[in-house]
């Protein structure tokens, strides 16, 4: 009996046991309250308990009722995207849904933190933070990635990572850390951009406005910007070119950061035209401004020491924001008394614990991901509709805030959804090349949001077209990823599905599961079956359905 015969009876009678059971589980499952015993998270960890208590306090104070806990499928998809950067493979979903262990969520968090995907995902995030999504000239993305791969792979203490980035010198592939400064020194601007970025990214301080004037809202003064800046004046970017005998042209070879002789103060101009001097001072600590001291090394020491340094609170805030879309402050990198955080005691305690843990990034993630707030559904109800930071309200974390996938998450999820990761059709190098090529095009269509946090859905028409197009050889474009994703050629995901066991309903369910990580609802199933029956060739209908699933808002949003 072929698939085309579409026997409903056949599906119910002969359907694969696993899928059948799965459907039953989902149909019966109902939303569980956050404190339901069936969802046990981080039980007993005092830090997690503290997070939960403080977040609950915020709910009480603001008279909101939290949304219920997310169903297993919703939660699993989210935690995969947040920790390893792609949607869960089907077999993982099936295993998780069947698992009756009450601590299964905590177990998954542990497992994902040991997954190579964790290293890759956080490497991507921090590489983009440090050098942008589009690699500037004379910057090595590979070098920057190698540095972060090692940092996250070995779970290096965050203070050491920051120290290395700020103090780095040398060749951009031998010491990948230098790529941060290389990328921030594009303009030969005396380290102005490097100063502003270091403050924002690692210290959670926005001092860039004070380059030209005292800050209108906070205590930052113009002289502090230039004191900061003076630490970077001994860094020099050196670009090397080489002759290519084949083309007869000079080509970019490599870049490095070298020590530049510089001593004394930095000079800057007040708005009234008066010239001022600034010496290397950070938080009241002044270092020797003579030629013999290495200012960046001194700076790295100053910012990475102490009981609650800014690098710790900045990292806590950013990591919280990674999981919840919003940090404790907005913008996430503008912290300080002028901009009170939503949960000051919580931010404070997490900062303290993060330092005590030895700047253990995995531990920080463990605390956050095991919290009650992280386990909630993204659906909101009548009692927490105004918990909507997107509309400018204070974030109370009474439901999960939805966020669009990053370009890399989208690409890697498409690979998982279409099983391309298992088929091994091309080698690692080739698949990495294809990934980069796709990402470059997508980033062009998507924009680079490093400079500005985006609170709107910034999808563009070119990006939608890129996702919609399944033409294998489009004019004016590269072969589309989507053409392969919905291909019916032998060896493709759809071809395997079609050849596999199960009736039409099961195939629909499989496609929902691989793309949306959940089973279709009854009405979705009925709707899709109607489409299938209206088609002469059900293979085409199935292909169109897969296209629709991969193009849907539910697919591209992390929820």
């Amino acid at each position: 009996m072929t698939f085309g015969q579409r026997s409903e009876q056949r599906f119910w009678m002969n359907g694969s046991v696993v899928t059948g059971m799965l459907l039953a589980t989902l149909v019966c499952s109902v939303a569980v309250a956050a404190d339901d015993e069936s969802v046990r998270l981080g039980a007993g960890d005092p830090v997690v308990e503290f997070i939960n208590a403080k977040i609950r306090q915020g709910w009480t104070d603001n008279e909101v009722m939290p949304s219920p806990a997310a169903e297993d499928a919703e939660w699993l998809r989210r935690v995969y995207l947040d920790i390893v950067g792609h949607i869960p493979p089907v077999e993982e979903i099936e295993a998780f849904l069947k698992d009756k262990d009450k601590s299964k969520r905590a177990k998954v968090i542990e497992k994902l933190l040991e997954d190579p995907g964790y290293v890759r995902n956080f490497t991507t995030v921090w590489t983009n933070n440090c050098i942008g999504q589009q690699t500037p000239r004379f910057v090595s993305r590979a070098g920057m990635e190698k540095f972060f791969r090692e940092a996250f792979g070995r779970n290096r203490p965050w203070n050491e990572v920051v120290y290395d980035l700020v103090a780095a010198d040398g060749h951009y592939e031998q010491n990948g850390a230098v790529n941060y400064l290389l990328a921030q020194m594009q303009d030969n601007d005396d380290g102005v951009q490097a100063t502003a970025m270091t403050a924002r990214l690692f210290l959670g301080l926005q001092v860039q406005c004070t380059q030209c004037h005292n800050h209108p809202f906070n205590d930052w003064k113009q002289d502090q910007f230039w004191q900061f800046n003076s630490f970077f004046r001994q860094a020099q970017k050196r670009e090397h070119r080489k002759f290519n005998p084949q083309t007869g042209q000079m080509e970019d070879d490599y870049a490095e950061i070298v020590f530049r002789d510089f001593d004394g103060p930095v000079y800057y101009e007040k708005r009234n035209g008066a010239m001022q001097v600034a010496f290397p001072i950070f938080e009241g600590h002044e270092i020797d401004s003579g030629a013999s001291s290495d200012r960046r090394v001194e700076f790295a020491k100053l910012i990475t020491s102490g009981e609650k340094p800014l690098i710790a609170s900045a990292m806590v805030n950013r990591t919280w924001g990674h999981f919840f879309s919003y940090g404790f402050t907005r913008p996430i990198d503008d912290m300080g008394p002028h901009n009170p955080s939503t949960h000051p005691e919580l931010l404070d305690r997490l900062t303290e614990e993060f330092v005590k843990s030895g700047y253990d990034v995995k531990q920080l993630i463990r605390w956050i991901a095991n919290s009650e707030a992280y386990s909630l559904t993204s659906k909101f109800g009548t009692k927490n509709t105004h918990d909507s930071p997107g509309a400018g309200e204070t974030a109370l974390f009474s439901h999960m805030y939805i966020k669009p996938m990053r370009a890399e998450q989208l690409y890697d999820s498409l690979i998982v959804a279409t099983n391309a990761h298992r088929s091994g059709r091309s080698g690692w190098e080739e698949s990495e090349r294809q990934r980069q090529q796709w990402l470059q095009q997508f980033v062009r269509a998507f924009g680079n949001d490093m400079a500005e946090e985006s609170n709107n859905f910034d999808g563009t028409i070119p990006q939608a077209l890129m996702m919609m197009n399944t033409n294998p050889r489009p004019q004016g474009g590269d072969a589309t990823l989507m053409s392969g994703a919905v291909s019916l050629e032998s060896g493709s995901h759809l071809a395997e599905l079609l050849a596999g066991p199960g009736g039409e309903a099961q195939k629909i369910q499989q496609l929902f599961l691989t793309s949306l990580s959940r089973m279709p609802t009854r009405s979705e199933l009925n709707g899709m079956q109607k489409f299938l029956r209206a088609n002469r060739d059900p293979r085409m209908a199935l292909q169109d359905m897969f296209w629709a699933l991969l193009n849907s808002n539910e697919f591209i949003l992390v929820h």
Binding site: Q186, D187, A196, Q208, C209, Q211, S378, K379, F380, G381, S388, G390, Y401, I402, K403, F446, G447, A451, E452, E453, S454, N455, N456, F457, D458, G459, T460, I461, P462, Q463, A464, L465, M466, M468, N469, T470, N471, P472, P474, Q475, G476, G477, T521, S523, E524, G527, M528, N535, M540, A541, D544, M545, W547, A548, N551, S552, N553, E554, I556, L557
Partner: protein, 434 residues
């Protein structure tokens, strides 16, 4: 344009067919937008065409010649229909200079390609705090959003890289096409319309379910973007990108005589781009940028200009102005010609000119501005501004804003809440508007 029309069915039929099948699915009534017809669009749509000379053009050899100076170079000035002289290698343009003016007192201080490009496009110098929008994005934001009948993007960039919409958001980013009018990924190959329709119907079922599940604004925003993409693909206005629908005579007007046909492959691209721009203006697009590169002439400047750059430039500008004039559009379309900066008056050892931002020219015309005017002047060697007043990109864009009816007290707010005046508070150039 990229939806292939099935054999035996003309485009109109095909559209009706799509309309008929979509009518059964109210959630996807994308077809209601296809009725708009370029010819029915209101006339008098103000627009701006930016001719972007990527690389930094030697304006001293084009618009502001210095005969008799050691910096003068090989070219002689010729008289024009306007009240100014230009290069002898711009003879066709000379005949339309009554419609065009040259601001000869630009002084812009950014002499690096990236920074100059940013400054000239945005009126702001690069700043680590904020990404400013290119003026095309400003027009998209101020004018494009008010043109409800417009289904194609309000800022189209032909043959160039993108400039950034900055804090105005990605929906105001330039829409990139090449000079053949091809749009990346709009060519859906041999996908049958019925299949696309089915895909969109299925998509509607899935998306609507997610929208109803109460998760905030994103799910609906995603649907809206797809709706726009589908509207675009099925829009009659997409015809505007098809330069090939023009007669060979019209194309020749923009690219030079057919005798120069040998250059048509690569050489006619600027003219094709300008012709497409005119079609886009007719379709209601308020801002079009055409990228014409190859001006970074550190060596061999005169031969390159004489034999390669200027013949195309001359034919393109002259053709565009003549065509707009014939069609009664010239007073509605402001033309701006600029690069990142000018080039050194001093001729270097490789018979080239290097980067120079202190004293150079921008051409601006049409749009109801005074034509044939030279605004300001440089000294006899071209090395400094001799007229006292000098001009910044903000003055150029303020002039354009005025002619397009965008109020000059318009203020945009960056995502961090900082107010930014349109065109960085520049002023319209008096000699051009009084």
């Amino acid at each position: 344009m990229h939806l292939p029309t099935p054999a035996g069915m003309n485009r109109r039929h095909f559209m009706r067919h799509l309309a008929a099948s979509a009518a059964t699915i109210p959630a996807l009534n994308f077809i209601s937008h296809v009725q708009a017809n370029a010819a029915q669009l209101k006339r008098n749509n103000k627009a701006c065409i930016l001719m972007w000379m990527s690389g930094g053009p030697p304006t001293i050899d084009i618009w502001d010649l210095k005969p008799g100076s050691k910096n003068g170079g090989e070219f002689k000035p010729i008289s024009t229909k306007g009240n100014l002289q230009i290069s002898e290698h711009m003879p066709k343009t000379a005949q339309v200079m009554d419609k065009l003016s040259v601001v000869r007192a630009m002084s812009t201080r950014e002499a690096d390609h990236g920074r100059g490009r940013y400054y000239m496009h945005t009126s702001y110098v690069p700043n680590p705090t904020v990404v400013h929008p290119a003026f095309g994005s400003v027009v998209s934001y101020e004018v494009g959003t008010k043109r409800k009948e417009l289904e194609i993007p309000a800022f189209v960039s032909i043959g160039g890289g993108g400039s950034s919409p900055g804090f105005l958001g990605m929906s105001h980013s330039p829409f990139l096409v090449d000079t053949s009018g091809r749009i990346r990924n709009a060519d859906m190959g041999d996908l049958e319309p019925a299949r696309l329709n089915q895909r969109l119907e299925m998509l509607g079922v899935i998306e609507d379910g997610f929208i109803k599940s109460q998760r905030g604004e994103y799910p609906q925003a995603h649907k809206d973007i797809y709706q726009k993409a589908v509207n675009l693909m099925t829009s009659q206005q997409m015809e505007a990108f098809k330069v090939d629908q023009e007669s060979p005579e019209t194309l020749a007007m923009y690219t030079g005589a057919p005798a120069q046909g040998g250059m048509m492959g690569g050489g006619g691209q600027f003219g094709r781009g300008l012709l497409m721009a005119r079609r886009l203006v007719e379709a209601g697009v308020p801002f079009i940028e055409i990228d014409f590169g190859g001006w970074d002439l550190h060596n061999n400047v005169f031969d390159t200009l004489k034999n390669q750059r200027l013949p195309q430039l001359d034919a393109g500008i002259a053709g565009l102005v003549a065509d707009l004039t014939q069609r009664g559009m010239i007073d509605d379309v402001t033309l701006v010609w600029m690069g990142e900066f000018g080039r050194t008056p001093r001729i270097n050892q490789d018979v080239g000119r290097d980067h120079w931002a202190a004293s150079w020219s921008v051409m601006i015309g049409g749009g109801g501005l005074n034509g044939g005017v030279a605004v300001g002047e440089t000294d006899k060697d071209g090395t400094s501004i001799a007229s006292g007043k000098s001009y910044l990109p903000g003055d150029i864009w303020a002039t354009v804003a005025r002619q397009m009816g965008i109020p000059l007290d318009t203020v945009h707010t960056s995502k961090r809440g900082r107010p930014m005046r349109i065109a960085n508070g520049g002023s319209p150039i008096q000699e051009l508007i009084s």
